[in-house]
């Protein structure tokens, strides 16, 4: 990592801005207008703290994520369907490999990209076309751009919002899940969590002390409404999001 020496200008600007911030905050602001008495600020050091602390992850006022594994699976599947993702529950990895083979033949894939991961590796024998493995040693942007699909693992699936959490550390880096036209995610049922808060908690535990350089919640295939507010899938990212749930 090359670090440029802090310039005099940068130091002066930082000092000026921080001095302005300190000066501005010398006059306290009135507390926020809140509707519910329950979340009225509890004063700590004279300042209210966030009413719902990280350990109270339930947040019973946000959309429901489900209390049981069965409820979470139901909510996740329903949300993914509404987002127009394709969900395939399969009993085991053999069935998952067969499914990927069928998808590749149906869609006439010529080149599929993946990364080194046990769940992804188990799908390899099902793929009837050319493959490209991306990894720290070998990465060709143009070759990846030419791929029809990218297959990745994920960090977690969020029932509450129908999201897939991927990271640059465990899901093939930054581009694999966004550049190919189709994104195939392979996951096991025990990776499903209820809420966004749970997913963030999980990823912090897993990467204790050193978060990956990228974490991304993917919520359905890429989309835009920029033309007359009409929904179109596949703006710049994947046109199709395929979620294979094993177990």
């Amino acid at each position: 990592m090359t670090k440029t020496a802090p310039s005099d200008r940068n130091t002066a600007a930082r000092e000026t801005i921080l001095a302005r911030v300190r000066e501005a905050l010398r006059t306290p602001a009135p507390p926020p207008h809140l509707k519910s008495a329950a979340s009225a600020p509890a004063a700590t050091n004279g300042l209210p703290q966030l009413a719902v602390l990280p350990e109270e992850a339930a947040r019973p006022w946000l959309p429901d994520g489900g209390d049981t594994p069965a409820a979470r699976l139901g909510i996740l599947t329903e949300n993914l369907g509404k987002l127009r993702a394709l969900v395939y529950p399969v009993p085991d990895m053999t069935a998952a490999a067969d499914l990927v083979g069928t998808l590749a033949r149906e869609r006439d894939w010529r080149q599929v990209a993946w990364h080194d991961h046990p769940l992804v590796a188990a799908l390899r024998h099902g793929i009837p076309c050319g493959t490209l493995e991306v990894g720290p040693a070998a990465f060709d942007k143009s070759a990846l751009e030419a791929c029809d699909a990218g297959i990745t693992a994920c960090e977690a699936l969020v029932a509450q919002t129908g999201s897939i959490l991927v990271s640059s550390a465990t899901c093939g880096g930054r581009a694999l899940s966004i550049l190919p036209h189709v994104h195939v995610v392979v996951a096991t049922l025990d990776q499903i969590v209820a809420t966004l808060g749970d997913a963030l908690h999980h990823v912090r535990e897993r990467h204790a002390g050193r978060l990956p350089s990228m974490l991304s919640f993917i919520t359905g295939p890429s989309r835009t409404g920029d033309i007359e507010r009409i929904l179109v899938l596949g703006a710049h990212g994947p046109k199709e999001l395929v979620v294979i749930l094993v177990g």
């Binding site: 440029t4 600007a13 000026t16 801005i17 921080l18 302005r20 911030v21 905050l25 006059t27 602001a29 009135p30 926020p32 207008h33 509707k35 979340s39 600020p41 209210p48 966030l50 719902v52 990280p54 947040r59 006022w61 946000l62 429901d64 987002l83 990364h115 990465f139 751009e145 509450q160 999201s163 550390a169 880096g173 930054r174 581009a175 966004i178 550049l179 966004l196 808060g197 912090r204 978060l211 990956p212 350089s213 990228m214 974490l215 919640f217 919520t219 359905g220 295939p221 890429s222 989309r223 835009t224 920029d226 033309i227 007359e228 507010r229 596949g234 703006a235 710049h236 990212g237 994947p238």
Partner: protein, 477 residues
């Protein structure tokens, strides 16, 4: 490629202040007359209302979620003195480089210097309102850098040579046939009336540009103090690609975007999506903690973050309106505003349109020049109700009006108010005045005195009643 033009620049001369106001009045009148345009904008927003309400219905208690979002932003903004340095220390520990910019001019020079140092040949950009605020594209083009906006709406606006019409839906005013013609002229594509085909044209055009770009420029929606990550919200995947493929990533953000906890995003991200676009969550919500790590597959070699003040500390210094820094730029207040829907986004002449733009622009560019925006409000409070972080928007419009009256009092208004107080506090004078007024009301229609001329231009005076209210009340017994 055409440059973004700013309709009006900040100035302090009375003539310029008058010019901004006159331009607003002129453009507003033009837009209000254009029934076709208004119907088109209303139709485009119709789908938004339906999906927003459906998504809000999934919250078990939307009002309590607003409380939590409001508190998260309140406690971050009011402790910016602690949290901003904490964010910077953690972001630098992640390997990111921070550049402080006191104003727009400094921010532009920083970015241009970074582009020179990177020996940039091709730059790809994802949607970033802060870059619109500092007029970055024009500065880059003046220095000879080609820059492509990758967000579909921003790309269309760049080709049209216009700034965004709405800071979340940049080209919501443009019809599909106009986009088809535009793409035909610039990209040589055949005409189509399918939004899907038009989107695919932009998709095909952009893919090589991501791969070939040296530098990617993005904005930031949140800066997470405890982890030193920046959070970017988008639907299309263009920001993901912009921060994945080029070898240099430059992010630009206002200093007010800091939040304390990573976990705050578990509330703020869904609120932003639901309030802003009627979605459960925006398609891609991505956290970046510096450049590519050793052992990771790809990503930029270096990540810069330009932290912009540009008068945000002036808003911070106003405790009454400090909460306008809570804004997460969801655009909900524009979507529900009767003024926005009638005068359109360009009439404001500002980077940030609609109610929140009318609140913050006087701070960013001067109250004397931009006070008229605070008058363009029916004070219906729809903006305040829609705000997911509970900014007291419509009261701040009143605060701006009061502040403007204090700094530059209008002599005629003062005389008028004194006269009214004098009359209204004397019942006999009030009754006499009313009697005169009832008999001369018709005359005003003919004489059209200057004070009433604008009002009468689009309205009829009511017929005067035969007797006063007080007389009728008495007669009622």
């Amino acid at each position: 490629m055409s440059t973004h033009t700013s309709p009006v620049h900040a100035t302090a001369t009375p003539a310029a202040a008058q010019a901004a106001k006159q331009r607003f009045l002129h453009d507003a009148a033009e837009h209000v007359r254009d029934a076709g345009h208004r119907a088109f904008v209303r139709k485009a927003l119709g789908g938004y209302y339906a999906s927003r309400d459906a998504q809000k219905g999934r919250y078990r208690d939307w009002e309590q979620a607003r409380d939590a979002a409001s508190l998260a932003k309140w406690s971050a903004v009011n402790r910016l003195d602690v949290l901003l340095p904490r964010f910077v220390a953690n972001f630098e520990a992640n390997g990111g480089l921070v550049h402080w910019a006191r104003d727009a001019d400094e921010a532009r020079s920083i970015v241009l210097e970074l582009l020179r140092d990177a020996k940039a040949r091709a730059v790809i950009k994802s949607k970033c309102m802060t870059s619109e605020e500092i007029h970055l594209n024009a500065a880059m083009e003046a220095d000879g850098y080609g820059v492509v906006e990758s967000d579909l709406g921003e790309f269309i606006q760049q080709l049209r040579g216009e700034p965004p019409y709405h800071f979340v839906f940049p080209c919501m005013h443009v019809r599909r046939d106009e986009i088809s013609d535009l793409f035909g002229r610039h990209l040589g594509t055949p005409p189509t009336d399918s939004p899907e085909e038009l989107t695919m044209i932009a998709r095909r055009h952009m893919r090589r540009l991501y791969v070939d770009a040296d530098v990617g420029i993005t904005g930031a929606n949140f800066l997470v103090a405890e982890t030193g990550q920046i959070s970017i919200t988008e639907n299309e995947g263009n920001a993901r690609l912009t921060a994945a493929l080029p070898r240099v990533h430059i992010a630009i953000s206002g200093i007010e975007k800091v939040i304390e906890h990573l976990d705050d995003l578990a509330v703020l991200l869904p609120m932003l999506a639901t309030a802003g676009a009627g979605q459960p969550l925006t398609c891609y919500n991505t956290l970046y903690a510096g450049p590519r790590r050793p052992g990771e597959t790809d990503g930029p070699e270096v990540m810069h973050l330009v932290l912009l003040d540009n008068a945000r500390t002036a808003i911070l210094a106003d405790p009454e309106q400090r909460d306008s820094l809570h804004c997460i730029r969801c655009g909900a207040c524009l979507n529900v505003c009767p003024i926005f829907k009638n005068v359109g986004g360009f009439t404001y002449g500002t980077t940030y349109q609609g109610p929140i733009g009318s609140v913050i622009t006087p701070h960013l560019r001067g109250l004397a020049d931009w006070n008229h925006l605070s008058g363009a409000s029916s004070l219906c409070g729809a903006c305040t109700d829609a705000c997911p972080v509970r900014i007291d928007i419509h009261h701040h419009l009143l605060h701006n009006r009061r502040n403007a009256a204090r700094t530059a009092p209008n002599r005629w208004e003062k005389i008028g108010h004194r006269l009214f107080v004098a009359v209204a506090s004397r019942p006999w004078l009030f009754a006499a005045g009313g009697a005169v007024f009832r008999r001369t009301l018709g005359l005003l229609k003919v004489l059209r005195p200057p004070l009433l001329r604008d009002w009468l231009a689009s309205r009829d005076l009511p017929a005067a009643p035969a007797a006063s209210f007080r007389a009728r009340w008495k007669a009622r017994g």
